[in-house]
Subunit: 326 residues, 4 copies
């Protein structure tokens, strides 16, 4: 199945991925991980929820940690361009027969909750409480010096179908992995904001969240985080990397939070604002696809993911296997 | 004069700055500077013109060097979203009473040439010959490892008027410097592509081009370039830096090409895609505005610029003076 | 006057520079600067004294801050190879007619205090309390991530004489600046430990301490410190840099502590253990001597220094002037 | 068996490791690897031999590539402090019953060839042709920007015995790995020049050369090399890394040359000039010993090594196994 032509005039205007809510089983333990170790800034918190932002963000939050009985992901949230786009989104989603509801979200304006066709919970809003800049408050920088949320990566049981849906709402494919034998997509990277992706889909049991990525200044910050985590009790939370991705050309590290939610630390992909940007195709068998330097990902990386609240997980249609570290 | 509200629905859709043409008086000497020293890639060349691209660009050129009798700038070029936008641009520019003409440009589709109200020559196109990616051909990387053209900075005799015009065509102000006494803008940074700017305006004799900036991976590449230039005969071409800008928070270096065209090497500003991003105000007297670390720019930096072909240069309306290095 | 041949078999064996004691007028304010901002580790402290060490050091202290009425430098301390060397030092210094006395120094073994012929107070010891390694306790790293004390730089009224004395006790010249007209040394860099220097001498009113330098991992740590200092109230404490030295090829930054004691942050010079290493000569008029990239040092850098307790300061013999920033 | 006390007054004075000669089966192919890709500078060459130096070295060569029928290592060479030390070395080696002979080596003064008790060929000299500095000829820097040879690592069948011998000639242990059960050394790092090591020994079939290491400026140069090698046909030559060593705290990468000689790219260990530096003990079972971040080395890293010309290889005494990547 070929990559669809980009939809340059989508039914409503999504600006970028915005935030994620993780249900965590021990809020204090997660705070130590995200705020003290990674270096996200705590904006507001109470006994149930912690709102975090990264250093260059002006919106109130890019991550919400919520205490709960079981680790899962409440939703992925996307920022729309205007209030008008929010109403257009409502109408379009209704037309598609997808579930819609207005929900109350602290620190945000009107918020629309839906699920994509695979059951993945999404929330759209256009207005969030704006905060004073802290990107030049250098005394606050620590940990990996996270600058902004960069992307979501999701397991999909049918990557072709996921790409088809997100393409319709304006996401444009920048790179993709094809299974040569079946001609089906094994993975795809899609963007709105002008980087390699706001969201990516990887073949697997789904829908599940594979990881959430944060942008950092340079690869040296990633090395600093590895040194810090490996000497402060987080050695077992280091899953894969560091390395250079073949796909995206970004420098990466994958780590697991105390509940197993996977975080990618990421930097130096490329600008993709051209509407005529040609997607780059990779073969599933290409060992440099995952890591330009050849190191395969460990088995856990292909198998483990976070459950979305209320989403039913099924097996993927495509059975092809990438190269897995022995 | 306050910063105008962003125009979120401009008359035509500009994607980003695209390229610049420099008239240079010794093409071989300029080639040595841009290709051999900075590390831009020569795409095509003949006795009169050299087309260059940076490492992550897929369009045919981000800079054209043309042999000529006198150093000047032929035009600044901007990429539009679609052919429809090109026709909308024509119509809108006509309505404004600005000059319009279709021009032939090698390696580009239909190209519209105009001048902004200050007389600055602009060219709009939507289609350029696309080239295979080279961003993972690491054997080609050298010099400062330029990844992409990032922005233009122009002297304007009336920054308020420049901001007003570019705001109308969709550029959004991210940061600005105000003269407290007059309440007039002294400088402003405006973007389309989601970084701090595609174009900036600085008070001064104008219209003139102050500089053209290239994005590089990290500050260490800038240090490498300084080491290289200072030991290969380009010591006198280093004008200002390295340093951290207060405005934009980017890491910078200013250098002069053999004809005096100013180039900025630039990295690590921040993402600005939110339509409700609040512009950041700086006072003209704030010493950290220019360089966060306090070092003032040298006099040449405030006075020297490149002439635009056919543009009449006049004195600025605003006489306020920034801090200049003694 | 030519550089003397290295004395490969000195009368006693000096291993390296070891530590410095600064008299400071506000201990809490100095603690904020050295511990909280630079990132030196407080080892022990009381109301009068703070002992600090850098991250890879195992000895108890590389810097002592002592509360006093007037900013000055108590002494420069050097580590000897063995107790035997301490006794040899005593004998040799006596033979030279230099003052000697055994002094009690907390956390150190037997300590010999003397003054060099210019009156600069020196202390020799061979044994210091050893501490457990902290170089892999990455949670402790902050500020500029100082790894170790690297060198002292002193104003001397007669650099030829200083070089002659330190050469006799085994310091070897790695680089030097000569005044072409007089043939006299304007500055010299001398080492024991295998880097470009443990101690350097610069022509000027002396004896005074020009600066004390700390080694850090990479130039990016220096950029981080600049960002931090310029946004936490230390903007005026940034004196010169960052830049690449011509002499030593090191990357540098000069800052002033709250009392005006000058600190250099320094990295990436070269290994000098070869006994037949040829000293590198620089001309006083060479603009790349100070900064490879051409930027001259400010006037304060040539004039300001710290007084040594009890040392009489006189004018330099050599009146030649280096290039000073306008 | 405990680590021996350092011998602070050895029978002759070794300054540092100096160079290695590799027999290679295709000189042009090796030249492409070492000069074009790694960035070592070719000093002199003919049809049989290429002499290479790194960027900050002043001696004529740190590596000799010699065309031969079979990949092996001719010798490891060490620089002595003076001619007197060379004669002392002759006498001492004779006393030990070790083989000695004077050999002619181009570009070197008198050279003494011997074998250590395990049969490893060593050459001592004190004088080598000195070359003008190139460390500030930045146009020559490329590849991984190698600054200097840093250390050798050798397989030893009896690490306790190797440590005992090298300790007698003045090498001092900085870190070591002990097998808890047998109390025997599994590996040891020993220095002369003031870094973590000039030479290290690892338990295994020996004597064989495990690797030769080069010092580079920062971890980013190692990332650059990985990007370069993985996109220029050297993907299969990347063996292990990048990572932070537990032992030495250095940042590393292991690669294999076209004949399988292993090269380590290495930076940021620590200064060890103190004669009373306490060696750091590691347990063989500690997963952070090899890589602070926890990743085990691949099997090849424990098994593959280069043969020394004329040395008989035998099985190690100690059978203990470290953690090997699955
Ligand atoms: Ca005002
Ligand atoms: Fe990702
Ligand atoms: Fe700029
Ligand atoms: Fe210094
Ligand atoms: Fe090694």
């Amino acid at each position: 199945m070929p990559i669809p032509m980009p939809n340059l005039y989508p039914p409503f205007n999504i600006v970028r991925l915005s935030h994620v809510e993780f249900i965590v089983t021990d809020l204090a333990r997660s705070r130590a991980f995200y705020a003290d170790t990674l270096g996200l800034q705590v904006v507001t918190e109470d006994a149930e929820r912690i709102y975090l932002r990264a250093m260059e963000e002006r919106g109130h939050h890019c991550m919400i940690l919520r205490q709960g009985p079981k680790a899962e992901v409440s939703m992925l949230a996307l920022k729309l361009y205007s209030e008008e786009d929010l109403d257009k989104a409502w109408d379009w989603l209704c037309e598609q027969g997808l579930p819609v509801e207005w929900v109350e979200r602290p620190h945000q304006g009107r918020t629309l909750r839906t699920r994509d066709p695979s059951g993945m919970p999404l929330e759209f809003y256009f207005q969030m409480e704006r905060l004073p800049p802290i990107h030049q408050k250098y005394a606050l920088y620590h940990g990996v010096r996270p600058l902004r949320i960069d992307h979501f990566n999701c397991f999909s049981t049918d990557v072709d179908a996921s790409v088809e849906f997100y393409n319709r709402i304006g996401f444009r494919v920048t790179e993709y992995t094809e299974d040569d034998e079946s001609g089906r997509l094994w993975a795809a990277w899609m963007h709105r904001k002008g980087g390699v992706h706001d969201i990516a889909f990887t073949n697997g049991r789904g829908p599940r969240l594979h990881h959430t990525a944060f942008w950092v200044p340079t690869p040296l910050n990633i090395i600093d985080l590895l040194d810090l985590m490996s000497t402060t009790g987080y050695l077992a939370n280091i899953e894969r990397g560091p390395g250079r991705h073949g796909i995206s050309n970004a420098f990466f590290l994958y780590i697991l939070d105390p509940d197993g939610h996977r975080i990618e630390i990421y930097c130096s992909d490329y600008q993709t604002v051209d509407p005529d940007l040609e997607p780059i195709r990779w073969d599933l068998k290409d060992p440099q696809r995952q890591t330009l330097w050849g190191a395969p990902a460990p088995r856990s990386w292909f198998e483990h993911g976070s459950i979305f609240a209320g989403a039913h997980v099924t097996e993927p249609l495509l059975k092809a296997q990438p190269i897995i570290a022995p």
